[in-house]
Symmetry: C2
Amino acid sequence: MIFTRLKQMIVGKPMPSHRLSEEKISKWKALAVLSSDALSSVAYATEEILIPLAAVSAAALAWSVPVAIAIGILLIIVSASYRQTIEAYSNGGGAYVVAKENIGVLSGLVAGAALLIGYVLTVSVSVAAGVSAITSAFPEVYEFRVMIAVIVIGLITWMNLRGIRESATVFAFPTYIFIISFFVMMGVGAWKIWTGQAVQAHPILHDSYPPIAMFLVFRAFSSGCAALTGIEAISNGVPSFKAPAHTNAKITLTWMAALLVVLFFGITALSHVYGIVPRGGEMAVSQLARAVFGTNWFYYVIQVSTALILVLAANTSYNGFPWLAAVLAHDRFLPRQMAILGDRLVYSNSIIWLSIAAAILVILFQGETHSLIPLYAVGVFLGFTLSQAGMLKHHLKHKKPGWMRAFAINALGAVTTFIVMLVVGATKFSEGAWIVVLLIPFCVFIFYKINRHYLSIGAELSLMEESAPSKMNPVKHTVVIPISGVHRGVVEALRYGISISDDVRAVYVEIDPQATERVKQAWEEWAHEIPFVVLKSPYRSIIKPLLEYVDDLSNTVHSEIITVIVPEFVTAHWWHQILHNQTAFLIRAALLFKKGKVVTSVRYHIKGI
Amino acid sequence: MIFTRLKQMIVGKPMPSHRLSEEKISKWKALAVLSSDALSSVAYATEEILIPLAAVSAAALAWSVPVAIAIGILLIIVSASYRQTIEAYSNGGGAYVVAKENIGVLSGLVAGAALLIGYVLTVSVSVAAGVSAITSAFPEVYEFRVMIAVIVIGLITWMNLRGIRESATVFAFPTYIFIISFFVMMGVGAWKIWTGQAVQAHPILHDSYPPIAMFLVFRAFSSGCAALTGIEAISNGVPSFKAPAHTNAKITLTWMAALLVVLFFGITALSHVYGIVPRGGEMAVSQLARAVFGTNWFYYVIQVSTALILVLAANTSYNGFPWLAAVLAHDRFLPRQMAILGDRLVYSNSIIWLSIAAAILVILFQGETHSLIPLYAVGVFLGFTLSQAGMLKHHLKHKKPGWMRAFAINALGAVTTFIVMLVVGATKFSEGAWIVVLLIPFCVFIFYKINRHYLSIGAELSLMEESAPSKMNPVKHTVVIPISGVHRGVVEALRYGISISDDVRAVYVEIDPQATERVKQAWEEWAHEIPFVVLKSPYRSIIKPLLEYVDDLSNTVHSEIITVIVPEFVTAHWWHQILHNQTAFLIRAALLFKKGKVVTSVRYHIKGI
């Protein structure tokens, strides 16, 4: 088929199931692959802190450093908490699994909904920020940012439909280039201040801070919490690590947390020292890079590596989302087809839905990272909280050696992330968090509806019940063949009809009585043994009289099933189809959902020219 | 069905065939209804003359009056010529009919193509000009002109899908208001000049004319020829006249021609006298009306009546186009369904296509009348020429009393319109006439292709030939039932299968060997009498192994037809469908066009929740 060939051209040839092996990766590669989501947030989290503060006054920006310290502490708490999860769930303990196993199905589904929404937002936010990194360097393409973002999502989708392996070495480069170039920026920036080559606008910490509404400090804190997104990736990815997987994963998580804290705090502090003020059109980190290096080649290295790690971060959702959707579908909370591996060993359905949702968000929010952030953190922290809370139950149940220390750490994690969730929800509610607050219960509601549907269908279709059919007996059925004249196409349909039933009737809808006479004569000659019924049609409809006849027939002949055989043409060229078959299509559509009716097309292949 | 109810809400309930009666109309109503297309061109034809002249110099505008005189003479010649057609074709002699009957099929099709294109352009040009009349009065909506034009086309479409009667008295008003208000404008304009209340910018005729390239005079003439479009409507509409139809039609045609000449010449002359210079954003007639009346209430009467008659003119295409398309479809030059009267007694297909084409043109040409005009005249004059040329052959064949005089008139008409066609084609070629010059032969090519297709199909399907099947014998057929498990939906399909054939096989595609075992056990219990085939699927495709099995089967069992029965679910709510049936859909799509395969869905109605 044309479609098959087209699809193979785009996504490649099918792959056999045995290629779905679990490849084990080393720590340095795991750090690159599993941390890109978390580390990339350094590119926008600082700016998110500055924006609400700058709205008050330039002096208020001084608050950014204490806020960054608070976020750094939070980051350490959450990382420590996830180290416990790595210990307990060596198969990868996503929040859905941990919450469902330990707390209950509802909690699991809430976490699942929060995660799915989070994956979509990771794509939208990361791509939007990645495009920002480019438009910061090349402001002349700023007006095309939405289009560029949608194209980038399209490319990521295409790669994932072909089935890329995250473990490919090439994907490790952007992360390390990003880390190195950001460290270089911090080093050079500090050096220039120290040697007096750059004007120090502010000290890192102030003796006194300008009094502003605590609400605004909390809002800045909430915005900066975007830095924590993706921190759970390593604990979900334990099965990918080389043995000893636990230990390796824990070491990698510690490294990632350390890098994230240093990078995030460093960039925020440096931005404050250099007196960066957020403004539309150029990202804060781009401003900082220009302030440190000027617009030289290294500035472009920074921007390009920022863009690349953000695209990589978006890409991580293309593993997480389809995998979680498949787990939910397997548990009958999402449509079955989301659990079906496509012929390239990827969950094609989920990949496409993820891309569509992310692209819609990017378009709706006009590719502005800052507008998308308020939707992000509530779900992320809800997931954190449920996951940590699940761990508490887990510890109480298993009471492994040293469980009390782990319990304490997870308890701190759970309480902290719960409080942060409330703070984020409250300070960001009107800016967009309300969307997610409404969306999560809605998703959970849909999950339950789908589950109930599958369960009820299962019961209904079961052959184990008392009402099940007792015998495999044939059905009594009548065949109706609507004809438009007497020709070879009709003859094929009639031959098929008499071969599947003894009760066959040809039906002709009369529009023009003269034509009826001609058809009747031809009928006598060719098929007089089959009853020929003429239906009047004062309104010139072909369909209506036919439907009425079929309904009447159901009542009179007491057949269990009436099969309507529609003679159709298959033309040699597809564009010839528009010259035929309209009526056949309408008959099929009209009878499609009627009970006790089977519609069969017998197709006659015509060559035509 | 929902679709049926929605359709009835929009276009109304079906009407029985007997309501398709020929209503006869009086001369005064016929003049209004059949002349709106021709008369409405007065609204834009003058401006079309002025635009190419104004591009040279203000002085060159003096040429507009001689050009208008030339067009006036042409108009009289063409009208006289069409009086002969009325005499000869009392059933309405459209150019297609006249050319096909007298010259040949090719000429008829060329005329038919020119006419169809002309109908589309009538809609586009008239609606664009009508919207111009409004935006001239209310410049603040000028930027929305394309949208307004598309909405107007939508409204006309809707009215025509419901089936309006052109003969409705209400449609006579706009034409008469237009005629009267334009006469008032000419009278008041002349009076004001005569009494010195207005400054006379120029005399009507000059003693000497500024020397300009003759090409430009011809181009102005070609543009002004837009005034002749629609002049043939009365001769096509003879059957609508009260007896004596001939005489009444001829009288009406004479009246229309006289009105058109006077209005067109009067407006052009008055525009020159008042020194109107065409400019973007306001129509020339609007400028003239403001010059004569100022922007008072009567100015708005002029604009609104101009807009209304133009909409009415657009509407005339909605009778002409579908009727001609139906004639062409009846002669097998267009798809059959264009000859089928819908349940509101209108040719719904053609109406929709006409609207789509016209709307596309309006959008492409940004609702600018002036940009559309160059496409218009070539086709119109080609139609005139072929129609008159056909009349010449007609006279030679029938030689009715007084045929020589009629022959002379038609000869003059044919030669004149042929020359004008060449002039228009040459002077407007690069401005857009080339589109139509290419489009007409392309349409004719398509007509012939469609015709050849239908004829070849007719021969192929004929039972009269030697190769026709000799006997109505049943076919040998095998049934294949793909199953996904053993449940009630499958049981229904199996019961149906064994009732239509003795050779039934159930086929199961194995993805997971453990699942296969469970299905096999259930099979033994429920349907062991039917062969159960397991197909391996290393690529996890359900479709491919099934297709291969069916193809193999065709070769081994020598069945003429293999029926694939697909068990499907019909869910209680349509949105539940997305949770089911994807595989059934794919199987159907894959086998759709294969020879010797019949795909039948046996649907099990599930309630579900």
